[in-house]
Amino acid sequence: MHPAPSVIIFTSLSGLGFGLLIFLGLGLPLPTGITAFIYFALAYVLAVGGLMASTFHLGRPERAIKAFSQWKTSWLSREAWLAVATLVAMAIYGAGLVFYGIALAPLGWLGAFLALATVYATSMIYAQLKTIPRWNTPLTSLLFVILSIAGGALLAVQIPIALALLLGAGIIQVAYWIWGDQALYNSETNMASATGLGDQGSVRAFEPPHTGTNYLLREFVHIVGRKHAAKLRIIALILMILTPVLILSIDVNIILILIAILVHTAGLFVSRWLFFAQAEHVVGLYYGKR
């Protein structure tokens, strides 16, 4: 899959933003006044900024509002509803904390639940696709959710929880890679089933339909970036998991927390880049590519 920067930024940042909202909703921490304002502003900048970035990959962004209509079948539509519901609930909860110093706890819990559901809906947009075997697994949802709450815990300065979640996220990330490397093969979709010619002999793509490229190849077949995948996986693990864990095991202060958050986010971008760049769409088989 083509690793579009808008989608990588959207899923990473909105994941962090909604992760922070989960902890704020649970009252971990329970700030008031100006501190609460800073926390909520950060969460909204990340969550809303991510959502805005996602509209950049639309062909017709001016019609984006129509995406709310198909919640019965479409995970993209469900994500839009859940995101708005979360932001509304948490805005009221946040206003209580900022302006009146009151925690409307049940509303906070509802907001936390909705934020979690939003991240799950985002993950299901990818996990539902049978056409991309590497994504078509519950591990995708598990990875998106645990990365979101691990990042959220880091932003909410819940250090012991963050450390446990980061290590958990690292394990799931590695499991996802190991499973994913076999996914296309195990999907039983191959050139033989794609062309239906497997019974007659071994199938090889002889000539593509056109000498030039096309939308399908640009969008779904991304080979160049996979060259350094193994190195990038290690970089992602070091930045996203190991460095923040190491830093925060040594000492906890504002500077170290900021560094840990920045390094984690950089690693998250690398991991999310790999998530797209390494995903093989079965349509590539028609072109003899993966």
């Binding site: 062909g59 017709r60 984006a64 209509s69 198909q70 479409s74 239906g196 010619l197 056109h210």
Partner: protein, 248 residues
């Protein structure tokens, strides 16, 4: 709503005969010609005469080499367009309701004025049947020439998809798969019409007829018994040379 209908009254679709297709790409051209001028946004080209030409097509012809265990490899031309799946994954993922499957004839269409160009339907399609038009920013796909097949302004023989009408080798057939006596149903039964990627669970309506197995000519050579056989084993100096060279 992008919910799929439980069933459709008719199941219009194509049969594509891989045995007969000669790979001339006439269906590609007639498809682009008809569909760029008629229903919906035109099928744009980018840099059509430049260094890196690219464009939107609803039908593309691949060519595959099939190497059987014995005998010569065979070249198979393979036209591919939307298969109008019964369980179309492209429809249910659409967030706006722009993609839909018609109850009356099973055709999968895009309402372009509702399409936001998110591309998710193209992600969900295993066949590469949908292409986002770079100029219009909306998703384009085969309409089964919905503006031809019911068009009473056209002479009756033209009321079939442009690709079928134009195919010079008769490799494409259009009809109703819900009717067991239709031409397409009969062809599918007689020739073992197959689904592409059946394991994806899309239940495609379009069927592909596999290439017929090549028959073998019995070798009849009336002169052979009269000819002296060519010596396989070398003799004399050549035999010595052969042996010596083998040893080196």
């Amino acid at each position: 709503m992008t919910q799929l209908p439980d069933s459709t009254d008719r199941k219009l679709g194509l049969v594509i005969d891989l045995d007969t297709c000669v790979g001339c790409h006439a269906c590609v051209i007639s498809c682009k010609g008809w569909n760029t001028e008629n229903y919906g946004a035109p099928l744009s080209d980018q840099s059509a005469y430049g260094e890196n030409p690219s464009g939107t097509f609803l039908n593309r012809v691949h060519s595959y080499e099939v190497q059987p265990e014995e005998g010569a490899a065979q070249l198979i031309h393979f036209p591919k367009s939307c298969l109008h799946c019964e369980d179309a994954p492209c429809v249910t993922v659409c967030p706006t309701g722009a993609s839909y499957k018609r109850v009356e004839d099973g055709i999968v269409l895009v309402n372009e004025s509702d399409c936001i160009g998110c591309g998710l339907c193209a992600w969900a399609c295993p066949y590469g049947a949908r292409e986002l038009d770079a100029a219009e920013g909306v998703m384009k796909k085969c309409t089964l020439c919905v503006d031809r097949i019911y068009n009473e302004n056209l002479p009756e023989e033209d009321r079939e998809p442009a690709c079928v009408r134009t195919c010079p080798s008769g490799a494409r057939h259009f009809g109703d798969f819900a009717d067991p006596d239709s031409n397409v149903s009969k062809l599918t039964t007689e020739r073992g019409g197959m689904d592409l990627m059946p394991e994806q669970g899309t239940k495609p309506v379009n069927k592909y007829l596999p290439p017929r197995l090549k028959d073998k000519m019995e070798e009849i050579d009336i002169l052979a018994p009269l000819l002296t056989p060519v010596a396989v084993e070398p003799k004399g100096f050549m035999a010595w040379l052969d042996k010596t060279l083998e040893k080196i």
